[in-house]
């Protein structure tokens, strides 16, 4: 059973770490490293979006990048046209949420389940990818923003202080703002999961039939969870667009969707910290591999994925958790103390 968030020490530890990184990193680290970590922060938000709907709603999306890309393109088009980034950021949440709700309605009220659900989300992302790749010609522009097809949209504005489009954030400030986003989303998700709504969605994940027999509207619940996940992925996409200052169809690609799956999987399904850790680890690894000249980096990454699935099927965080718990029990035993049943159960 989930503890109330406010009584979970882990929650405070995470928030404290987050705040510490947010305020200390810009002072301690050089510019390049800051920009580097900013990337992990952005992708962590994306990982959280899938970690939430998969781990706490039981919805497995193979096409989470559709929302990521939708948010990114929404932000790019809106901010280029408006010359400001505040409203586009809001739009990058609202539009993917609405799209998620619509797609969720289409799927869950059509009683699609497991693999079929995965494939439908994958197909939607693929359609996006095909169509956005097809927008190379000059006829595909929205306002003053050319969609650019395969080459994508360059020169996307940097985030600025709301209401003052000339006050651009420098990389350090941008990092802090993004870190703030990540923390807020993490905290919000923790509370959402611990709320009545969250408990119901977990019960649906565990047993859909029983939940519906208990009188909960399973389909409506799933649509809402899916839409929230879509909105968060959309924000991540917008952050990505403004961080990189360009966006291209890669953001909607199968690779991007699959990356999110691997992060969540590697970090641990059913946790929120896991996807973040998985994302940071694997992204860092990808980057390191590109600096090594000897071996083919794609092959190494593939091998690591296989080993991960075979050796750590539960993911890093749950495995570490049970190892720690096991160690704790052993230690208690060595202390000669009786173990209360409650500890074991937890």
């Amino acid at each position: 059973m989930e503890k109330p968030v406010t009584r979970d020490p882990g929650f405070y530890v995470m928030v404290a770490i987050g705040l510490a990184v947010m305020f200390i990193a810009p002072v301690m680290l050089d510019l390049f490293t800051i920009m580097q970590i900013t990337q992990y922060v952005v992708l962590s938000v994306f990982a959280l979006s899938l970690g939430y709907i998969w781990g706490f709603g039981g919805i497995l999306s193979f096409g989470q990048a559709a929302f990521f890309g939708l948010g990114a393109y929404t932000f790019a088009v809106a901010s280029i046209n408006m010359g400001s980034t505040t409203i586009p950021m809001v739009l990058a949440f609202v539009i993917p949420t609405l799209f998620g709700a619509a797609l969720g309605y289409f799927m869950f009220y059509g009683r699609l389940s497991d693999v079929y659900l995965g494939v439908v989300t994958l197909v939607v992302a693929l359609i996006f990818w095909k169509l956005i790749n097809h927008t190379a010609g000059p006829e595909y522009s929205i306002g003053s923003a050319r969609l650019g097809g395969f080459n994508g949209i360059p020169s996307i504005p940097t985030l600025h202080v709301p209401g003052d489009p000339s006050a651009w954030l420098d990389p350090g400030q941008m990092f802090q703002v993004f870190m703030g986003f990540l923390l807020v989303i993490y905290v919000a998700l923790r509370f959402l999961i611990a709320s009545d709504f969250g408990r119901v969605s977990i019960s649906i994940r565990e047993n859909e039939t029983r939940s519906s027999l208990l009188g909960y509207d399973v389909r409506k619940h799933k649509v809402i969870v899916f839409a929230i996940g879509g909105g968060i992925a959309g924000i991540a996409g917008a952050m990505w667009a403004t961080y990189q200052a360009f966006i291209d169809p890669n953001s909607v690609s199968m690779e991007m969707s699959a990356k999110a799956l691997v992060w969540v999987m590697a970090g641990g399904v059913g946790t929120l910290v896991g996807p973040i850790i998985g994302c940071i680890l694997l992204q860092w690894l990808t980057l390191q591999l590109g600096t090594v000249d000897v071996v083919n980096s794609i092959a190494v990454l593939g091998a690591i994925m296989m080993v991960l699935v075979l050796a750590l099927p539960k993911g890093i965080v749950p495995t570490a958790r049970s190892l720690l718990l096991g160690g704790y029990i052993l230690w208690k035993r060595n202390q000669g103390q009786a173990i209360s049943g409650k500890v074991v159960k937890e």
Partner: protein
């Protein structure tokens, strides 16, 4: 206005941050080695193109070092593999500019990758050489562009084809920026020469089945087909074209085939025979510089499974031209180097004579038309000193040195 202020803002703030944090590194770098960045895809979808570029790049550096380095210092290569992924391009570009503090960067293959890294190098004042043939239009004082553009190649290829085969042209092109712009140029040159483009079709980069198109082309019965198809999936066209027995019926010309140095090897001799292409370099070029160059390459990479192509040779040119300018200017600072580079000096390179046009900072170079026969391109005609007239239409860096854009040349 806003763009300017933003750049300026970023520029000052990041430069300040970089200066305070990285000053010891800069000091060490100056006494130690001269660093040259290489950004070519060594894995992923574009590796067949990136690997030869990178090998030639390393060979050029070795050659420079064997001749005693530059300014009494050794030249060191900083190489990253962006894995055919635009986000990694942006990552490594930032890393080269801020952390490694390289003196110059060679690299970028697709226009998408160039447009990803060009603004980064511009922002951090890292001198940048782009060595790939592309659709034209880059106007950036921080970039030297040495590859050919459509005004150099397509403009020669079209009249050549129309003379030989006739005036009705069917264009098939890859569905992205390069394909669209090239197709527009094809239309323009065909019409200028009194011909007609009867149809233009675009194909997503992952399309591998061309049966329906081949039927459509047969229905339209053009005098020749002009292909701006890109990538290995699109090689399927040439293969299926030959399979349908069309080789003897309608000739094919291409603006891309052979650009990477592996297409002509992947296609069998029967499939490739008779396809005509135009580039700034072919292995067959007959001059002593080229002979010596190819010999060195064969020595350095005896097991290579690629053919020297324009983009690899031009990568070599980039290193050599830059090194020459460094020797002459006595520094690696960008502005003195630019002065030397745009002074109208002609460089004697494997591809022939190369000059840099001060207006566009693109190359004025010899362009060749060649026909594929038994997996080898045989040169049919050459056009010395071809200027990049397309980019010249939109770009004048002498007038507007602050320009920082990739113009879409509208026709």
């Amino acid at each position: 206005m806003t763009i300017l202020s933003r750049r300026k803002f970023l520029h000052t703030s990041t430069a300040a941050a970089a200066a305070t944090l990285a000053s010891p590194i800069i000091a060490r770098a100056q006494s130690d080695t001269i660093k040259v960045g290489g950004l070519h895809d060594l894995s992923g979808a574009l590796d067949a193109v990136g690997v030869p570029m990178n090998q030639v790049f390393q060979m050029a550096i070795k050659e420079i070092n064997e001749a005693g380095g530059l300014l009494g210092r050794e030249v060191e290569a900083v190489i990253y593999d962006p894995q055919s992924n635009m986000s990694l391009y942006s990552q490594y570009a930032t890393q080269m500019a801020l952390r490694d503090q390289v003196d110059v960067v060679m690299g970028g293959i697709t226009s998408a990758s160039r447009e990803t890294i060009r603004p980064i190098f511009h922002r951090y004042d890292t001198f940048y050489f782009y060595n790939t043939q592309y659709e034209g239009g880059v106007c950036d004082r921080n970039e030297i562009t040495l590859g050919t553009t459509p005004a150099q190649t397509v403009a020669r290829l079209i009249p050549y084809g129309m003379n030989l085969y006739g005036k009705k042209v069917y264009t098939i092109a890859a569905d992205y920026n390069y394909g669209h712009i090239t197709a527009a140029w094809v239309k323009r040159y065909v019409e200028e020469n009194g011909g007609e483009v009867i149809e233009t079709e675009f194909f997503p980069l992952d399309v591998a089945q061309f049966g329906s198109t081949i039927s459509k082309i047969q229905g339209a019965a053009p005098d020749f087909v002009l292909s701006a198809l890109v990538g290995t999936s699109h090689l399927g066209f040439y293969r299926q074209w030959a399979a349908a027995g069309m080789k003897s019926e309608i000739p094919v010309m291409s603006t891309v085939l052979g650009a990477g140095g592996s297409d002509q090897l992947i296609l069998t001799a029967e499939e490739g025979n008779g396809i005509t292409a135009s580039f700034g370099y072919f292995e067959e070029i007959d001059n002593p510089t080229n002979k010596a160059f190819l010999e060195r390459v064969a020595q350095e990479y005896p097991d290579k499974d690629w053919v020297m192509s324009e983009i690899s040779e031009v990568t070599y040119e980039g290193m050599m031209i830059w090194a020459d300018a460094v020797r002459e200017a006595g520094t690696t600072e960008r502005d003195p180097l630019l002065e030397v580079l745009t002074s109208g000096k002609a460089y004697d390179l494997p591809a022939g004579k190369v000059k840099i046009d001060p207006k566009t900072q693109h190359a004025i170079r010899d362009v060749y038309i060649a026909e594929l026969q038994d997996q080898v391109f045989n040169i049919k005609e050459s056009f010395p000193d071809s200027p990049p007239t397309d980019t010249q239409m939109v770009c004048d860096l002498v007038e507007n040195p602050d320009s920082n854009q990739h113009f879409e040349i509208s026709l």
